[in-house]
């Protein structure tokens, strides 16, 4: 990964003014954002959109936690509670985590490989601008008669077909739009990486964020059509008299789960592989040492992606399948621990005998490694079929996937924002606020999710609006942790707004003294157009 640019070929902004002036004119106002084909603008749009959706989905989580603060029904009716759990999940997965990673890819992939922009800039605009409409449709479904989708983000048939409300059509349509957006984004990433790398940027010199996103993009293209297929089958079962998931017409409700999880499990890695890339940038920078085992990181990522296609039924052990199938999916799932372990060991080895400092991105990265590993270990426990029968559909599972998605994916996104924000704005963010954000989030997120392991093991099922009295004490603490975690994110909002208003100390092009890679060789803030002439990577 020794990427040294040929400074003679680096397009410094000042000399570009002479020959290509119109190119550097930045449009103003609303139309800039509506019509933009600039990867940095689109990246910013994606990131803001993801953040807004994170707050909206978070507000729904607050409703859930408020209802669960005490036993008994206090605030919402069970039907609305189910809508909240459903839409919370959909928004966080499709509205927050995935668009945030796409936003980071837009900002960073061209800068990291020395490309002037994404390969398909107009499609890039389109793939962002259909997203707000998808979520407007989804959110508006909450206000139709009977309310929005109430069958869980996994929309198992026949609860989502025969037994669902009429807003199901809106749900299906919005998921289609989200899927189209993701597929277009993925195509763009692949075409850009295949065709627009700077001379000398061979595949095995690509930064890990680029590698992990390339693999993620292939996963997206492979499984988003499967999701589109399954929502279409739900639509036709509900409205057009087909019987894909209805035994009375020769179908099978469990077929739904097979198709859904064939999408769903790779989807889990879609939400975590780019995080692995981000952490592999941040840990070496603040350890002032090269990433340990670059090649094994690439191979581990690829193996995880391949394995993700043969483990889907570990979400369905209780549906009743042959012993031999249960054994197969158990063993395939356990094997994923090997490449995932390699990644964690590589990060620890990178820190080993480094020269470590604890800037905010590093704090989030370290929290990621520890807490993601906690989620990974509970995942290993969940793979063991006989005990999965006890864990399945309890709060133990809720704890597991929130550890990998909140303290995993979302912490990595925050680490990435803190790491690259000075490059985007040209100013250092407010470090005091950032540290408040980190420590408040770290403590509250563990008060929120750690006790969920206990209530899950003690027997509390997930997706219930009310619970037996033995779970009351922990649920109170979980809710308090939830409110605190929600409020902590407002610190982040304040910090980002402040950073966007160009407050704070100016930073150098390298920003962090251990940072390596092409994006650190262009000025801060990154000019509107970068790498008009490709750098040469030696």
């Amino acid at each position: 990964m020794s990427t040294v640019t040929d400074t003679a070929n680096t397009p410094a902004t000042d000399d570009a003014h002479g020959h290509d002036d119109h190119h550097h004119h930045i449009p103003k106002g609303l139309m800039r954002w509506l019509l933009t084909t600039n990867h940095k603008d689109i990246g910013t749009l994606y990131l803001w959109f993801a953040f807004i959706m994170f707050l909206v989905g978070g507000a729904m989580a607050m409703v859930i936690r408020a209802e669960l603060f005490q036993p008994g029904l206090q605030i919402v009716e069970p039907n609305f509670f189910n809508q909240m759990t459903t839409v919370h999940g959909l928004i966080m997965v499709f509205g927050a985590v995935m668009p945030a990673f796409t936003g980071l890819a837009n900002w960073l992939v061209p800068m990291m490989i020395g490309a002037p922009d994404m390969a398909l800039p107009r499609m890039n605009n389109w793939s962002f601008w259909i997203l707000p409409f998808a979520f407007l449709i989804l959110l508006s479904s909450l206000f139709v008669e009977g309310g929005g989708p109430a069958f869980g983000w996994t929309f198992y048939a026949p609860l989502s077909t025969t037994y669902s409300g009429d807003s199901t059509a809106l749900f299906v349509f919005s998921v289609h739009i989200m899927g189209i957006s993701s597929i277009m984004g993925a195509i763009n990433v692949i075409v850009t990486i295949f065709n627009m790398r700077a001379p000398g940027m061979t595949y095995m010199k690509m930064p890990l964020f680029v590698w992990t996103w390339l693999i993620t993009a292939f996963l997206l293209i492979a499984v988003m059509p499967v999701l589109a297929g399954v929502v279409t089958m739900v639509l036709t079962d509900k409205y057009f008299g087909t019987s894909f998931f209805d035994a009375a017409g020769g179908g099978d409700p469990v077929l739904f789960q097979h198709i859904f999880w064939f999408f769903g499990h790779p989807e889990v890695y879609i939400m975590i592989l780019p995080a692995f890339g981000i952490i592999s940038h941040i840990v070496p920078t603040f350890s002032r040492k090269k990433l340990f085992g670059y090649a094994s990181m690439v191979y581990a990522t690829a193996s995880i992606a391949l394995l993700s296609f043969i483990v889907w039924a570990h979400h369905m052990f209780t549906t009743g399948m042959p012993v031999i199938a249960e054994l197969f999916f158990m063993i395939a799932t356990m094997i994923i621990a090997v490449p995932t372990g390699v990644k964690v060991f590589n990060w620890v080895a990178t820190m080993w005998r480094g020269s470590i400092s604890f800037e905010v991105p590093m704090l989030f990265a370290i929290a990621f490694i520890i807490l993601f590993t906690v989620g990974g270990l509970s995942g290993l426990m969940l793979a063991i079929v006989p005990v999965d029968f006890q864990y399945h559909d309890t709060y133990f599972v809720v704890a597991h996937f929130h550890y990998v998605l909140v303290t995993g994916a979302i912490f990595s996104i925050m680490a990435a924002v803190y790491y690259w924000l000075p490059k985007w704005t040209g100013r250092m963010f407010d470090i005091t606020l950032a540290k408040w954000h980190f420590w408040c989030s770290l403590i509250s997120v563990n008060v929120l999710f750690f006790p969920m392991h206990f209530v899950g093991l003690a027997g509390m099922p997930r997706r219930i609006p009310d619970y037996a009295l033995q779970f009351a004490d922990f649920n109170k603490w979980i809710s308090i942790g939830g409110f605190a975690f929600g409020l902590s994110q407002l610190i982040f909002l304040a910090l980002v707004i402040k950073a966007c208003r160009k407050k704070g100390e100016k930073v150098s092009s390298q920003v962090w003294d251990g940072a390596e890679g092409l994006e650190w060789e262009i000025p801060s803030p990154a000019p509107y157009h970068t790498f008009d002439t490709p750098p040469v990577v030696k």
Binding site: P71, G72, L73, P78, N79, N82, E145, G146, G152, P158, L159, Y163, D166, D246, A248, P253, V254, S287, R288, K289, K290, G293, Y294, T318, G320, V323, E326, M330, M334, V338, F345, V348, A349, M351, W352, R353, S355, I356, I370, T373, V374, L380, I384, V385, P386, Q390, H392, D393, F454, V455, G459, R463, I464, P465, D466, A468, L469, Q470, D473, F474
Partner: protein, 365 residues
């Protein structure tokens, strides 16, 4: 590890419970083994990480080393986890194979989930009944103090004998449910149109509580399971008694066919049936949930066609959440609830329906 397993409290607020079957105790040991292995891995990995974070800090003047590859180390930390995984997989596979062996049962119970209750049918005896949550709405609405078994109590628990292999055939009438009793380590989905199998062999008599584990709609959280395990002799006495009760109920049903109930009787029984059975969807005030469950108050079916009203309760309506109540309610109960729904909430039709009217629709005479 095993010592810990046996000293752990029966019903912990923190941990899985060891349960009351050989299988559930094996599952518990597996869980504890997995847990300890995970703790050891975490301690080693995080220990090394924290050591590095403390000793190799820039502020302490640490100079970065230069290494970034080591094939031997990388092979080691690929192979060692692999071996640990094999160590986990072998006992897990053995337990799993034992759990899935449903052969040679002493007794079989058909478990059918529907929104939001369980139905148990003893395949070897003439006994079947519905099991519905017994917690009062007032407790859920915080008007009464919550009882000890809040949300975990039912009107008619499943009763099984101890020391015998009881096989469960599990299915559903509508959406997917999941029948879960933690103390038996049995959790199996109830899939509409398909039958799953599970089994248990309970060592100790007692009352064991569980819940539906698969999101099944509005009242998913209010669908508990209670199983009473009795000594085989007590169980035999119980099942004989139940058969007698079922026979008497059938005779009573025939007797009532010839009789007419008064309006007061019909309305009182009808209100009880409506509030305990129909109100889950159509609400106690008969207004339903707009867009989800239709209203009965002011509805065409409740105001006009009386036969259609009886028919929908007896047969349900295909393609909707309206299930058949023919098995859940007696003919006189159906007659009463139809009368109630046609006269309550300003639906003042003045209609009176008798058991024989229901019988006419059910049996065509």
């Amino acid at each position: 590890m095993l010592a810990l397993a046996t000293t752990a409290s029966e019903r912990s607020d923190l941990n899985l419970r060891p349960g009351v079957t050989d299988i559930s105790q094996q599952v518990y040991s597996l869980h504890m083994m997995m847990f300890f292995i995970c703790v050891v891995i975490a301690v080693i990995v995080f220990g090394l990480m924290f050591y590095s974070m403390i000793r190799h800090r820039k502020s302490k003047g640490a100079k970065p080393a230069n290494f970034h590859d080591n094939v031997k180390v990388e092979i080691a930390w690929t192979v060692v986890p692999f071996l640990i995984l094999i160590g986990m997989a072998v006992p897990a596979a053995n337990t799993l194979i034992a759990m899935e062996d449903v052969s040679k049962p002493d007794l079989t119970v058909l478990v059918t989930g529907s929104q939001w209750k369980w139905h148990y049918k003893y395949m070897d005896n003439d006994v079947e009944f519905f099991s519905i949550m017994a917690t009062q709405q007032e407790q859920i609405q915080n008007k009464f103090t919550k009882g000890e078994n809040y949300l975990l109590e039912v009107d008619r628990p499943l009763v099984i004998p101890t020391g015998q292999k009881v096989r469960f055939l599990i299915t559903s009438d509508d959406v997917i449910h999941s029948w879960w009793v933690p103390d038996f380590a049995v959790k199996k989905d109830a899939n509409p149109g398909f039958i799953n199998e599970a089994w248990t062999n309970v060592n100790e008599p007692g009352v064991y509580r569980g819940q539906c584990a698969e999101l099944c709609g509005k009242d998913h959280g209010f669908m508990p399971i209670v199983v009473i395990a009795k000594d085989p002799a007590d169980y035999e006495a119980w099942i004989v008694e139940q058969e007698a009760i079922a026979r008497r109920a059938a005779e009573e049903e025939q007797r009532l066919l010839a009789m007419s109930m008064s309006m007061e009787e019909l309305m009182a029984t009808g209100k009880r049936v409506h509030d305990s059975v129909c109100a889950a969807c159509h609400m106690p005030n008969g207004e339903g949930l707009p867009g989800v469950f239709p209203a009965i108050k002011g509805s065409q079916i409740a105001l006009e066609d009386q036969e259609a009203h009886i028919d929908i309760i007896v047969y349900g309506r295909a393609g909707t959440a309206m299930q058949s109540f023919a098995r859940q309610l007696t003919m006189s109960e159906i007659a009463a609830v139809v009368t109630y729904q046609r006269n309550a909430w300003n639906n003042n039709t003045g209609d009176m329906v008798q058991a024989k009217d229901v019988n006419a629709i059910m049996n065509g005479n």
